[in-house]
Symmetry: C2
Subunit: 351 residues, 2 copies
């Protein structure tokens, strides 16, 4: 280890400037230089001092950028360090469960080093040379688990069912589609560029994929790919796509909703409104909002199953790696313009 | 029996004139005189000739008034007799399961006498002097069963949960509220007149009720009656009420949707659109469209349970009885303006 316990070092940070409305922009966050940190976990604090390696850009973080306290997660504090999921290395620890050198995933700060107290969402990462460390905030982290819990627990899939995934090349959607294929389903994904469509079909194994930006009539596009309708819709975008899907659901279909963030504003209500909700009655459709955090009892099984599938080559995972803490604000804002191809990750340090 | 088998008699009918858009009007149907019918079930036909006693006005019938064949039920034929649920008496039968004098509920025509073939949805009514015959198309018929199946099977209620019912004095809503009270829930209903609100509170036993037409801010009204939020919403209306409810659901709340017909157009998409659907994610709300016909295995249990509750005086049921077949078109149109107080029934004949 290069980091000497007790040393005082420079600690670059990404700061959340203040509450926003609408779509996040790069300028909503800024790099702060000049912060110093002592690489030490004070005795009696139960805290631990970590070096951040990989930081996760996730759409849910937008809900923390507004001054709204009744959500399941509190807002960021203006002028404070951005927080999110990360993978980090313990430098010093006053916590009996952690020791220097441990690799851990959990909530951390968008900075080079963090003194952490919260152990609630922490998971030790077992060394495995076949799995990149960054995957523990993607494929094997919250986004992957969202796909796993949402697909198996909320969608309750059956073999040969017809599955549609929006934002299908994203951190969650790409795994949903692959799990659905492994489950024996017919799977179609939508994405916002021809490059992504190509990846869905040729790298991620979707049966079909389309660029929603090139479809003037989403209802017609869905009817083309699902002439007999959709059994399962894994909803990531909301808005006009959801409205078109509602017209194409099959009887007893299921819609799992983990977010509608790519095209519509969280916080701001959907400006256009969903007009075809009525169709859930004759089709007896179930629409279920969910959060992965309700299914954490399954997390161990998830890591084992999906980790094995990955190592067997049966699952692949696309990451969009951004180099350096400085890349954070642009990487985060890029989530909302569809700039990222795959899971958006910030690499602060590789070790 | 006054009706002599084999006699040819006048048969007044209510005719569906042709496909409509928007809200049904009285003029969409008309009385037809001059039809004659022979009071006889032809040998070898397996048919049965019935005298119609009570006919049911139900919101779902609007879905049959448009030229749309992909629904769960086909459209009416223009210039043909309106069809719907009814209670009727068998005059003559070539069907081995039915004999003259039997009282039966099921699909029939809006006319004085009908020659029926379909035995799929028929149920014999067991003579019970304590239960009005008309209740077999209301409390103990499709609307009552919609309430029963929707509340118990879709909403999965728990004691002490907070239940909101819209269109609460209607054929379905009034039973949902009473079942919820018997289940130990806190129950609030909304309706469209002060008379209905009074009935909900003072006759049907709701904890609270309000006139949505007198509430300029539905969100504020719901927050007043549900300061801790809503666990279960039995959805009958859609539109702005649903949008307000979505803002007030509790975590893991359930919304059972059997129709959104009172305020919004079936067939026509909701003009305004639902804007707060996003809130189902942080609240993990399940929204489930359903049809009572998926739960028919429970029908026997339903009739026994709800029939007993009624006879024990634990449940009451409001009917809006319209005298004479001629009253049909206005009675049906009245459903969509909130004119009816309770279950809308047409009495063709009392015996």
């Amino acid at each position: 280890m290069d980091e000497v316990v007790g040393k005082i070092v420079d600690n670059k940070q990404i700061i959340f400037k203040g509450y926003i409305e609408g779509v996040p922009k790069e300028s909503d966050m800024e790099l702060r230089l000049g912060n110093k940190i002592k690489l030490e976990a004070p005795k009696g604090s139960a805290a631990f001092l970590v070096k951040n390696l990989y930081l996760s850009c996730d759409p849910y973080m937008r809900t923390r950028m507004r001054d709204f306290h009744a959500s399941y997660i509190p807002p960021f504090l203006p002028a404070s360090v951005v927080q999110g999921f990360g993978v980090f290395k313990v430098i010093d620890s006053d916590n009996p469960n952690l020791k220097p050198g441990d690799i851990v995933s959990g909530f951390t700060g968008w900075e080079e080093y963090s003194l952490l107290h919260d152990t609630e969402q922490l998971r030790k990462v077992e060394a495995d040379n076949d799995i990149p460390l960054s995957y523990y905030i993607g494929l094997l982290g919250m986004p992957g688990f969202t796909a796993y819990a949402g697909f198996y627990e909320v969608c309750a899939p059956k073999r040969n069912e017809r599955v549609f995934v929006s934002a299908a090349s994203g951190a969650v959607g790409q795994l949903v589609g692959q799990l659905a294929k492994l489950h024996g389903c017919y799977v179609v994904g939508s994405a916002g560029s021809n490059q992504k469509v190509d990846l869905l079909k040729n790298k991620l194994g979707f049966d079909e994929a389309f660029n929603y930006k090139e479809e003037p009539d989403l209802d017609a596009a869905l009817k083309k790919y699902f002439p007999e309708g959709i059994d399962i819709y894994f909803e990531n975008v909301g808005g006009s796509m959801l409205d078109a899907v509602l017209l194409n659901m099959r009887i007893h279909g299921r819609i799992a909703v983990c977010g509608m963030v790519s095209q519509t504003g969280i916080g701001a209500p959907d400006q256009q409104g969903i007009r075809n909700l009525l169709s859930i009655v004759p089709k007896r459709v179930k629409m279920q909002g969910f959060l992965q955090s309700d299914y954490l009892h399954l997390f161990g099984r998830f890591v084992e199953e999906v980790g094995s599938l990955y190592k067997e080559g049966k699952i692949t995972y696309l990451e969009d790696m951004n180099e350096g803490l400085e890349s954070g604000p642009a990487a985060f804002a890029g989530l909302f313009t569809g700039k990222n191809v795959g899971k958006q990750v910030i690499c602060v340090s590789r070790a």
